[in-house]
Structures are given as C-alpha cells and as structure tokens.
Symmetry: C2
Subunit: 217 residues, 2 copies
Amino acid sequence: MRYAVLGTGMVGHTLADKLIAMGHEVRMGARDGDNPKAVDWAEGKGPGAGHGSYADVSEWAERIVFAVNGAKLLDVAVAATKEATADKTIIDVTNPLDTSNGMPPTLVPEMSNTTSAGEQLQLKLPDARVVKTLNTMNHLLMVDPGRLSGSHDVFLCGDDEAAKADVIGMLSEFGWDDPIDLGPLAAARGMEGLMPFWLRMWGVVGSADFNYKIVRN
Amino acid sequence: MRYAVLGTGMVGHTLADKLIAMGHEVRMGARDGDNPKAVDWAEGKGPGAGHGSYADVSEWAERIVFAVNGAKLLDVAVAATKEATADKTIIDVTNPLDTSNGMPPTLVPEMSNTTSAGEQLQLKLPDARVVKTLNTMNHLLMVDPGRLSGSHDVFLCGDDEAAKADVIGMLSEFGWDDPIDLGPLAAARGMEGLMPFWLRMWGVVGSADFNYKIVRN
C-alpha cells in the first residue's frame, strides 16, 4: 500500500517507520517538499521511502495519514488539496491543542465541543474519507500496543464504512486486535475531548506509557 | 457524618440511599424545601433522613454533595449560599451538559475547556472546599464498583488536601479502594471533558455499565 504521512514530528516519524517496517511504501509530506527532516528520514529508510510536498505525496498515495499539529490541521488540508485527497482514506491522528493559554493546553475552541478537528478536516476535504483514530495515546503506543501489559483500547470513528475497514486493517498490522468503533465522525468530539484528561493523567503516571481500557461485563 | 445531598434526581437518590446505608445522616436538598421527591425520599428512609431547602440542608450538613443538573449548578450554588457552605467539603459529581444542540449533548461553553463546572462552583462558593469526583460514570456504578468485574478507576481533584482526604474516605465506603488523584481542581476540565466520549461509548456498549481503567506498567 502507498501511504503518505503528513507531518515530520515524532508522531509522523513513528507512524512512517512502522508502515515501512510493515512493508508499505511511505512518503513523508511537509509544506516544503525538501523539508530536511523528511529528506533525512527518507534517505535513511531505503527504496520504499520518499518525501515531497503535502500535495505531491497525497497525490501519489493510496492512504494519507495526518500527523501534524492539530491547531494547523486545516492549513495542511488546504495544502494537500481536495484533488489529491479525493476518494482516499485519511487517517487523522491529530488533537486540536491550543497552547496560547499556557500549560497544560486546552482545546482550540473552533475545533472542539460542537465540532472537532476530524469533522473540520472532512469539511475542508469533502471528497476524502476521514477516519479519526489513535489520537488518544502516545505515539510509541500507537504502533506497539504490547508496550503495556494487559489489554487496553484503541478507538476509531468516521462516516465511511469502507474507510473504517481500511483503518481497522492498518490497526491490526500495528498490533491492535479489537478496535472500538465509536460510529460517525462526530464521535471525534469525544475522542479529541479525552486529551485534556490524558494530559493530567500523564502528570500523575509520570510517563506517557498508559492507556484507557473500557471495562464492561 | 451529616451529608446534604443537593438534587432530587436519580444521581441524588442513589448517593443519598448509599450514604444512609453507610450509617450517615442525610438530608436531601431542593429549591423548595418541601419538594415532593425529597419529602417522599426522606419519609421512606427512617429517622436518619430529612429534607429541606438548598440553604437549610447545607447549613445543617458537615459535607455537601452537588448532584444537580450541571448546567444549573451555579444557580444551586447561589441558593445554597456562601455562608452555609463555608469551610465544608463539597463533593461535586456534576457534568455541565448542554442539551440545546440536540443529542448527544455538548458541554456548556462557559463551563468547559478553559474552565470547568468544578472551578466555577468554587468561584461561587469561595469559602467551601470543592472536590470533583464520580462524574465520569453512571450513578449506579458510583456507589457499587463491584457491578463491573475486574478493576476500573475513579478519579478526583481539588485544591484542598483535607477535603480530598474526606472524599477518599467516602469513596472507600462506596467500595473504591484506590482512587486516582488528578491534582488541582483545574483537572476537572479533563474529568468533565470525558463526558462526550462517555456518551458515545454508552451507545456502543448499549448499557451504562462500563467504566474506564487506566492501564500502565
């Protein structure tokens, strides 16, 4: 499968590395197609890896991962373009964090509560098929659920069932056996709304190596 | 211990019943001191039970539980009065849900994200000692964690350590052995922010009998 990973930060690197390790072709996208972090990454990963602008890697890809700063998600969506993302499954792992109020961050008001980053992304790219997932945990855990002993949960939501099936397949490759489908993309409000809680729990645990498990009978 | 339980809904009834069962004296508070639901409850519960206005039961009590509609929390705080709540531990189990946008509810904007119902309650009652807890689950589970098999978590936060110790004691009577202290009352933003997620999960589970467990190594 050809994956574009938009974002050159830790989350983008971790996801891109894992997808390469799973045998996929991956291009890391950035605003500048010659972004040094993306170039360095691609050069270190062999022939299956590449880099390019948001639009170029999206055009090339079959699936597109948004692993960028959530507060800047919509700018990246515009740069990726409607045309290059049309009919493609988008995997949105972002959180719309607002650091302008100090730490811990709050949520960007225009992207939370009565809407979400996931929904706003879908509105910007109406022909793409957005699925929200993996945003409720640390990046290392995203691709290695076995880091934690015992079972724990990953969630997803989206309006397109075929795209969700694609994402469930990707999650299975990452080691997630039984993801919880929360339904329509509007459930991203709930998934992104976990982040302020997560940030507090991070302080309590003293490490990002924790996750939620939904306990039921 | 003398507990006032403000609120005559399901949550108030469940908590008041449990506190009576644990041997405490309990008065159920309402806007109208002769609220029929509060009168009925008190008459059915024997000599340890009573009822009265928000201010009267708060004045009488040593600890005060806010189990009212979160969107109306501040009106209830004003009615309970600064004077009657001064120096007392307040147990705030509310969620500031806004049903004006349809279902599922969103959060009241003025009581979420950069603030919380818990913090707003503390501002209204500056001499009280507000602790947020139990708002992250269904009311039946609040007083009976054994309804679910396996371990799962309850959280609390507040700015007053002595008040948190009071609440940890109450939670222990309810069957919660190891509550997770998230720190200052501002962590209520995170705890209340779980509710939109909870409402989605409720739909998936098809029952309110579920809870979060924080999995860590």
